[in-house]
Symmetry: C2
Subunit: 555 residues, 2 copies
């Protein structure tokens, strides 16, 4: 029955062999765990083996760009067929690795800017996609069936013992390093500085094998910065409807906002419109959210009590440091983020997720997938799903659950509010409402098992457009649901295909609510309501502590 000849420490032995090999190659250039940046390719050539599962820290924001470039520059005759694990593919180097034949397989979460190239390389047979994941799901697999053999990550600073200071932009680093270090993998870190004493230790040196000081600081994308100057009056109107028709209606105290101008408009209306409605202290108290600059006025007005973050946001460092009651700031005064824990917090400890999408079908399924682009969804499917393992109650959660169940003979339970907020037409007059998602065609093209849906219709509780709010919780049949969606789909073909009588009936029942049903005077929906009208206003609101990246400065 037993396997008598089985070796039980292949990973340990392999790890030891790699470290010895690398020690021999680098020789005296190794200073503790510090490797000179000029020898990074020697490090990678000696530490890696063909076919390795390699986790490269490409995040939503922070990028291990120096290591990514080094990896892309390896000799494919020596190192090839790597299996890349990566939450975000953001940089050209992330795809060069495949183009050059160093890597051949990919498991990932999101590839926004590189989605077109992912599709091209995949159809050219140079990139074999394992699966597209949500963030927490991908991290989870690092611990179960996809442990990284070698991880390449980024930190702010390290000491020569490999202790890391990740600072505010911690993001994915702890999850990646933990999964690798505790499966006898090898952890290599690019750092902006090697210091004798770190401001604080975020990751113990015992978990880290090599640190390399990068010639320039790691690249970081200010992904969550939205210039208030670009918010339209339609978006102001939608934000008013969201606040009055959903936030106030359910008393949403803990929440997560998706990325985009629609939710930025809501953030900028909290100190003005929401405060005038007497909602301060009643809604939007606790957030699972990156430090959105658009949230500054709401923080300054005392509307927001706490913010816990997945990552940080460029330019917000000094402001965060001055607001330690609000952000997750350590004893040293700088923030720590943690994408894995914040995804859990967004899923389990928040009553609502609200975000945008590109397409919604007649069942309420939504997707940002577009033909010719293999993009993935990051964290939205996790946050935008009912947390069925949640058991603590809150008024918002109970009310949503009660509405969904109505008089039906099911055991009472709560439900998460999941709101999709879209204008009926997006850029280039593309309708946001469609009979069939592009995801179907993409799935066929790319050979996916099932169409890539971002948020499934049965998790969506409300759809909000400039035409009104459809409360899907109150729909009692697939037909009602379809008409409720058509009823807010405006002049799109889906909207024009509505059954007018049924839509009016749904409106009478409060399933559909127009601005006027909510007592909102559309004429008041002007940009004057925004607590900040441009980037300069945000800087001013922060008392000069927010320093927007250059591209957002036009003064």
């Amino acid at each position: 029955m037993n396997a008598p000849d089985k070796t039980w420490n292949t990973l340990q032995a392999d790890r030891r062999a790699r470290l010895e090999r690398t020690g021999a190659v680098l020789g005296r250039d190794l200073d503790g765990k510090a490797v000179p940046s000029g020898r990074v390719q020697d490090l990678l050539h000696s530490v890696l083996a063909c076919g390795d599962r390699v986790c490269l820290e490409g995040n939503n924001q922070k990028q291990a760009d120096f290591l990514a470039a080094a990896l892309a520059g390896l000799d494919p005759s020596r190192i090839n067929n790597l299996h890349m694990l990566q939450s975000v593919l953001a940089l050209p180097e992330h795809l060069d690795v495949f183009e050059r034949g160093v890597a051949s397989r990919l498991d990932f979460s999101f590839s926004g800017p590189q989605a077109g190239r992912v599709a091209k390389l995949a159809s050219a047979g140079k990139l074999n996609i394992g699966a597209i994941h949500t963030y927490l799901e991908l991290f989870s697999r690092y611990f179960i069936d996809l442990p990284p053999r070698v991880s390449l990550v980024a930190a702010e600073a390290a000491d020569r013992n490999g202790n890391l200071y990740t600072g505010a932009n911690t993001e994915d680093t702890p999850a990646i390093v933990e999964a690798t270090a505790f499966k006898n993998g090898i952890v290599i870190v690019q750092v902006n500085r090697i210091m004798d004493t770190l401001p604080r230790v975020d990751i113990p040196g015992d978990w880290v094998d090599y640190v390399v000081q990068s010639p320039k600081p790691y690249y970081i994308e200010p992904l969550f910065t939205r210039d208030p100057a670009l918010i339209s009056e339609i978006q102001v109107l939608m934000a008013m409807m969201a606040i009055k028709g959903i936030y106030a209606e359910y008393g949403v105290e803990r929440l997560n906002h998706g990325i985009g101008f629609d939710t930025a408009a809501i953030e900028l209306l909290l100190p003005t419109y929401a405060t005038d409605l007497g909602l301060k202290g009643k809604i939007g108290r606790h957030w699972a959210l990156n430090p959105h600059p658009a949230l500054i006025p709401a923080i300054e007005s005392g509307f927001v009590e706490s913010v816990y973050s997945f990552g940080s946001e460029l330019g917000m460092e000094d402001y965060i440091r001055a607001r330690p009651d609000v952000f997750a700031v350590g004893p040293d005064g700088s923030m720590r983020s943690n994408r894995a824990l914040c995804q859990a917090a967004g899923h389990y400890a928040c009553d609502m997720f609200i975000g945008s999408t590109l397409q919604i079908d007649l069942q309420g399924n939504s997707s940002t997938a577009v033909v010719g682009r293999i993009a993935g969804f990051g964290g939205a499917p996790n946050m935008g799903a009912d947390a069925r393992g949640r058991r603590h109650a809150s008024p918002a959660w109970l009310k949503a659950g009660a509405e969904a169940r109505g008089e039906r003979n099911t055991i009472p339970r709560g439900q998460k509010l999941v709101v999709q907020m879209v204008e009926t037409f997006r850029e280039h007059m593309q309708p946001a409402f469609v009979e069939r998602l592009d995801a179907w065609e993409l799935a066929e093209q790319a050979g996916f098992e099932i169409p890539p849906v971002m948020i499934y219709g049965d998790d969506v509780t409300h759809i909000l457009t400039e035409e009104g709010i459809a409360n899907l919780l109150l729909c009692r049949s697939a037909e009602e649901r379809e008409q409720a969606i058509r009823g807010v789909a405006g002049y799109t073909p889906v909207g024009l295909g509505r059954d007018r009588r049924m839509v009016e009936n749904l409106r009478d029942r409060g399933v559909i609510k127009r601005a006027e049903d909510l007592g909102i005077d559309k004429r008041l929906a002007t940009r004057d309501l925004l607590a900040a009208k441009n980037m300069k206003d945000l800087v001013r609101a922060s008392h000069g502590m927010y320093e927007p990246p250059k591209r957002f400065r036009n003064w």
Copy 2:
């Protein structure tokens, strides 16, 4: 609009004041961050304030018992009305804190051994329950709306700078410490030893304020040890049905097992029955599971490829150290567990959860809640729920999803397998199937908003009893579902109330499968199939490396 007089650093200032106060009280007794054990109550009296939110590390296994006793012994005229955050209430001291008036409010996850006393103290008005959570849900709230002001945790060893070695029993510690340290809270750790050099650092000293060497090692409960001698032949039969009718049927490669003899029987049949069926390498390859001793034979036979754990298990230390390819072992050779990450892994990276319960109703809702005992569910509701934020496919997940959707006009998706495995009658001839869960009555008694359900019926995919397997995925109406459940409920009143014709029809359609339908010869369901028949066999299978706690040794 702004709040000009607002102070933004109350937490930092409060933290500083507490540390100064404590420094003054402890004076020269403080050696770095080390506090003499004799001064632990002085430490707590000075560092705590009335009404504090205090997270006490009561885990499933590891207990900060020395700090718990010190807390319970505080002077309630000085320290009172604490709000306790605790994943598990396991020790009498955990309730003494309320009995003595030191604490008055509680948010928690599980209280197995203390559930009766929780109920009594609650009805006496001495303990005000905020909510009952699942583990990951409770940790999530630590980062959003319930940040601990002071945390009392346990580790294996510390150095004088507060660096912690948690070793194999890491469990909740990293999540608690991270939430506290990065909200300017105070972290106090009881350790078994203070050392100059730690085997490895698990938690950086910068996150820790005080360490106290406990007079004796922290208490740890061997919660996942099941003596194979107590496994019945009914359980062997059920395990055979599980393996052939579910594991093999769906090709379940990644999974989590609940606690108990039912699943221990499955673990012990992998090297025998499952191997004979040719299932090695096809099922049960990757596990989110504590190091169950009952899994040793399956590990030794090469059936199990990897195990990632929430916590460790007493007596398994040497065995784990000798099997580093299987467990999550660090560069130092000892395991690291992590309950938060393993809960995520169990939810997102596993295709199946299988566990037991006390009661199942006609909709398939299950609960272990019993009148007079307020117990909670720990991790089961999280693991035993469809992971709606999952997007990667596997054959098991796709097949379950396809069965659930059938020909219906919904977008295709996968689904998690959630199996409830019960004998139709449990101890004292209590039926496992009921018309109405006791949870309803408990909710009324305890004033809960909704009945405490462990796993909701719409997440359950299969119910397995000695009478057969009901595949709820294939049911097409509430009535079919009810009859499928009745059809495996044996001689319980629920089982006797079945519509015989409908049940036979469900059997013809393969919705219900009896042992004989699966080609299982019941006469072969004997204890001879168990790869280990008693504790000594487990020790033998481990080559003497597993050292069972004394209470499990009868030789």
